[in-house]
């Protein structure tokens, strides 16, 4: 029944084969990530060199360009400025550039953090309560409601982009963080309710009933008995919700511009001299990947238990 029982039977050779297959797949899957990571440390000419350069002189120019706005100046003007005061000014000067101020990357990144984590928290919080109610209480038209919730996932969210765009304009939610949090929460809620309901269903009612008989209220029983046992499910759900909200591109492009723009629509349009500034784009992408990686690593034990839920139970 369980997957873990298999390698033990097939022996060392089977395990070696399975291990090699996983390693090979991981290698192939990591190549694009590695390329992005490497490109972040290339100079602009290296980044678009043909044939592509695997070995190159690493530079932080991409990161400097990502975080700053610069303007091109004549040699005469730069000479009047005196020697560069910081290492990043030095990199800019080497290209005849002068740093004029910070770029908007940090703002965009912060928007992503607020919107991504905010909507994840809300989707999981509301999803947990709804899942508990659907699992435990007699809700009128329960099956229909659950199907209705599921049906919102049957089309790509972007199919309703125009109506949402119009609604948001009317309601003054366009280009606001609250609007984006609301939107991502709504999209994620169906996933979160359904996933979490499965987890609540697996927790025997007897636990809560025992607590209630022992002198706890229903809410206390929920907090002390049900919630701790849902940890794995909540972690798994939170990761799925965060990945969606964090990566979402189409709505972010459509609904945000100046104020609440997230990183995904911002990063690919970082313009350098004569076109896209590929090293800066790659640097931004690398930094953008980090939170999801960290979040997933932090929750990986819970996630693993969440995925194997039901298999371990007798």
């Amino acid at each position: 029944m369980s997957i873990a029982a298999n390698p033990g039977q097939t022996g060392a050779r089977g395990r070696w084969l399975a291990g090699s297959a996983v390693a090979l797949y991981a290698l192939i899957a990591m190549i694009p990530l590695f390329w992005i990571f490497a490109t972040g440390f290339k100079s602009p000419p290296d980044s678009i060199a043909y044939p592509p350069k695997v070995f190159f002189e690493p530079t932080l120019e991409g990161y400097v360009n990502l975080f700053t706005s610069r303007s091109r100046q004549t040699d005469e003007y730069i000479k009047t400025l005196g020697p560069p005061k910081t290492w990043y000014e030095e990199i800019a000067r080497s290209r005849n550039m002068v740093i004029t101020g910070p770029s908007r990357f940090v703002d965009r990144y912060w928007n992503s953090v607020v919107i991504g984590f905010g909507s994840t928290f809300l989707a999981v919080f509301l999803g947990t309560l709804a899942a508990y109610a659907f699992s435990r209480f007699k809700v009128p038209l329960k099956d229909d409601l659950l199907f209705f919730i599921l049906s919102t996932r049957m089309m790509p969210p972007i199919a309703v982009a125009i109506p949402i765009f119009l609604m948001y304009r009317e309601l003054g939610l366009s280009d606001t963080k609250a609007g984006m949090i609301l939107l991502y929460t709504a999209v994620n809620l169906s996933l979160s309710v359904w996933l979490l309901k499965g987890f609540v269903d697996e927790i025997p009612r007897e636990y809560e009933e025992a607590a209630v008989v022992d002198g706890y209220t229903r809410l206390q029983a929920f907090r002390k008995v049900v919630l701790p046992q849902m940890r794995a499910g909540i972690a798994a759900t939170a990761i799925f919700c965060l990945i969606f909200a964090w990566n979402e591109y189409a709505f972010a492009l459509l609904l945000t511009s100046g104020h609440a723009q997230t990183a995904p629509p911002f990063i690919p349009i970082i313009i350098g001299e004569g076109g896209l500034d590929w090293p800066a784009v790659a640097a931004g992408t690398t930094l953008f990947l980090l939170p999801v990686v960290v979040f997933t690593v932090l929750l990986r034990n819970q996630l693993l238990r969440g995925i194997t839920f039901g298999a371990v139970r007798k």
Partner: protein, 339 residues
């Protein structure tokens, strides 16, 4: 400890009547066992006393006070479930302390520690207090869940087949232990089971449930000897009581309404001269005793409980008779006829 009572309690789930007009009074310090097959309403009855279900009509009282509309937390009863009774994310100590830490109780940590270790010693799980609940064996788990009921000294203990998920040996051990604890504490216990052996050995009184109705409440011996209905007669005794139409094996009823005789297998005597001719169809040896399935009077089958060293083999012919005075008589409605 306190007494508990149900008066004219009925509970429906949709179309089905789970508990049908039940009256039952459990005396202070009494061990009462509710016996019946799956779906007889035993667990529902227990949940009604606990407050986990609300009756459609009738009243529930504990310690003399009406608790029908009271929340489970306010009734001060303890419930031992068949399984899933321990919180897997807590240690044994935390599981045992959980009821004591309930908001209404607010016991001091010192007192909690003292009480928990007392109970743990009593149930011989003192050395397991630091273990996670999931690291225990089945027997230890059930000990802890009984312990979790015991720590609180509640009005009434409600136990829903607490031993049924254990293997035979453990069940026997815990059964003896449970009876001892109940005597020592003078605890009021309502215990649900479908195992007649548990019912016979544990109960001060047994309540027989049939499709939500309480058929008979009496001491085990009384139910065994004078069952109120055929159904009650069949719940106790293994093999089941023999039901023979009047006239068979020379059985003559003492009253006109009596049409069926109930004869316990141990009251069927074989090898007695002047009995009826019978053939042995099957023999089941149980160690100290054996069960013979006999065919008499053209097709009527009768179980006999015999000594293990009786020379009775399959296919043998012998004489069979019913011990005089042994039969109980039932009428057309399958009720006991008083003779």
């Amino acid at each position: 400890m306190a007494e508990a009572s149900l008066a004219a309690v009925t509970k429906r789930f949709g179309e089905t009547i789970a508990v049908d007009d039940v009256d039952l009074t459990i005396a202070n310090g009494e061990f009462i066992v509710l016996l019946g097959p799956t779906g007889a309403g035993k667990t529902t009855l227990l949940r009604l006393i606990a407050g986990l279900e609300t009756p459609d009509s009738g009243t529930v009282a504990i310690g003399g006070g009406d608790v029908t509309s009271l929340a489970p937390a306010m009734r001060d009863v303890a419930f031992v479930f068949q399984q899933y009774s321990l919180y897997p994310h807590y240690t044994v100590f935390e599981n045992l302390a959980f009821p004591l830490r309930a908001p209404g109780r607010r016991m001091g940590e010192q007192a909690i520690r003292k009480r928990v270790s007392e109970i743990a010693e009593m149930l011989r799980i003192g050395h397991k207090l630091k273990n996670k609940a999931t690291q225990l064996s089945g027997g230890e788990m059930q000990r802890v869940s009984i312990g979790r009921a015991l720590v609180r000294e509640p009005n009434v203990f409600l136990m829903d087949e607490p031993l049924s998920s254990l293997d035979a040996k453990l069940r026997e051990d815990l059964r003896v232990e449970l009876k001892r604890i109940q005597r020592d504490l003078g605890a009021t216990i309502v215990y649900v089971t479908h195992d007649q052996l548990e019912a016979m050995t544990l109960a001060d009184r047994i309540g027989i449930l049939d499709r939500g109705r309480l058929v008979q409440v009496d001491e085990p011996r009384t139910i065994y000897e004078r069952p109120a209905t055929v159904y009650a007669a069949q719940r106790l005794g293994s093999p089941q009581i023999n039901l023979l139409p009047a006239g068979r094996l020379g059985l003559t009823p003492g009253s006109a309404s009596a049409i069926t005789a109930g004869v316990r297998p141990e009251d069927v005597e074989v090898g007695t001269p002047g009995g009826f001719d019978a053939r042995v169809i099957a023999v089941e040896r149980r160690g100290a005793e054996m069960i013979a399935l006999l065919e008499v009077d053209g097709g009527q089958q009768v179980h006999a409980l015999l000594d293990a060293h009786r020379p009775v083999g399959e296919g043998a012919s012998l004489q069979v008779a019913v011990r005089p005075g042994a039969p109980v008589w039932f009428d057309r409605e399958q009720h006991l006829v008083n003779t």
